[in-house]
């Protein structure tokens, strides 16, 4: 089936504006993750959703960042009042989930490149 998809692929916004980034996980995957990748750096964990459980928000860098997921489908990451330091590639991943740690292998989307001017 299709992999993880993200939209838009590129987003340029002015400082202070709000942006919404979308992630469509692999069908049937119950777990969904957001990561941020700054230029020349590794990925930083932002937030994790598993089914209907409360999300793990421990990686969100500030209260300007929030994410939602309805059931086991699409997720949106919202950044309010964007700052230049928010410029990065935002990657989404999904996992099948369920019993056993091997079921949490993460499949990544192509990312959204956000540029804040």
């Amino acid at each position: 089936g299709a992999g993880v998809s993200q939209s838009p692929s590129n987003k340029v916004t002015e400082k202070g504006k709000d942006v919404e980034l979308r992630c469509d996980p692999i069908s049937g995957h119950t777990a969904l993750y957001w990561y941020r990748q700054r230029l020349g750096q590794g990925l930083e964990f932002l937030i994790y959703f598993q089914g209907n459980s409360a999300p793990d928000k421990s990686g969100l860098p500030s209260d300007r960042f929030s994410a939602e997921r309805t059931g086991e489908s699409v997720s949106t990451l919202t950044i309010q009042r964007t700052q230049q330091e928010d410029s990065a590639v935002y990657l989404c991943a999904s996992s099948k989930g369920g019993l056993g740690d091997s079921s949490y292998e993460q499949y990544f989307g192509p990312g959204t490149r956000l540029t804040v001017t």
């Binding site: 020349g40 990686g59 993460q106 990544f108």
Partner: protein, 113 residues
């Protein structure tokens, strides 16, 4: 704090030469370990993973990695590099029972003809 370190930012090898990319981790207990590859314009692809058992792990595209507990290392190797292997390689770790991955800062591999 839990961390993953990739000491080499950039490596250049000749096509056909062997390759070793280094990865060290700092965790209280042995985490699950992964290597991902990121090609230009593409998402991350899992090369291989280590959960437990045999310390030499085989992956896709001819890659393997060896887990060494005494050195807290999980180095990636390939006997003969192909030009198509040029990409960014990321080592990652996940604490047992936790879902989020911690990534190293990556090693960019350049392959010379």
């Amino acid at each position: 704090a839990q961390s993953v370190t990739q000491p080499d930012i950039h490596i250049t090898v000749s096509e056909g030469a062997s390759l070793e990319l280094r990865c060290n981790y700092s965790y209280g207990a042995t985490p699950y370990l992964f290597w991902y590859v990121q090609s230009p314009g593409q998402g991350l692809q899992l090369l291989l993973k280590y959960f437990s058992g045999d310390t030499l792990v085989q992956g896709i595209k001819g890659f393997e990695a060896e887990f060494k507990r005494s050195q807290s290392s999980f180095n990636l190797r390939k006997p003969s590099v192909h030009w198509s292997d040029a990409a960014e390689y990321f080592c990652a770790a996940r604490r047992v029972g936790r879902r989020a991955l911690t990534f190293g800062s990556g090693t960019r591999l350049q392959v010379q003809p």
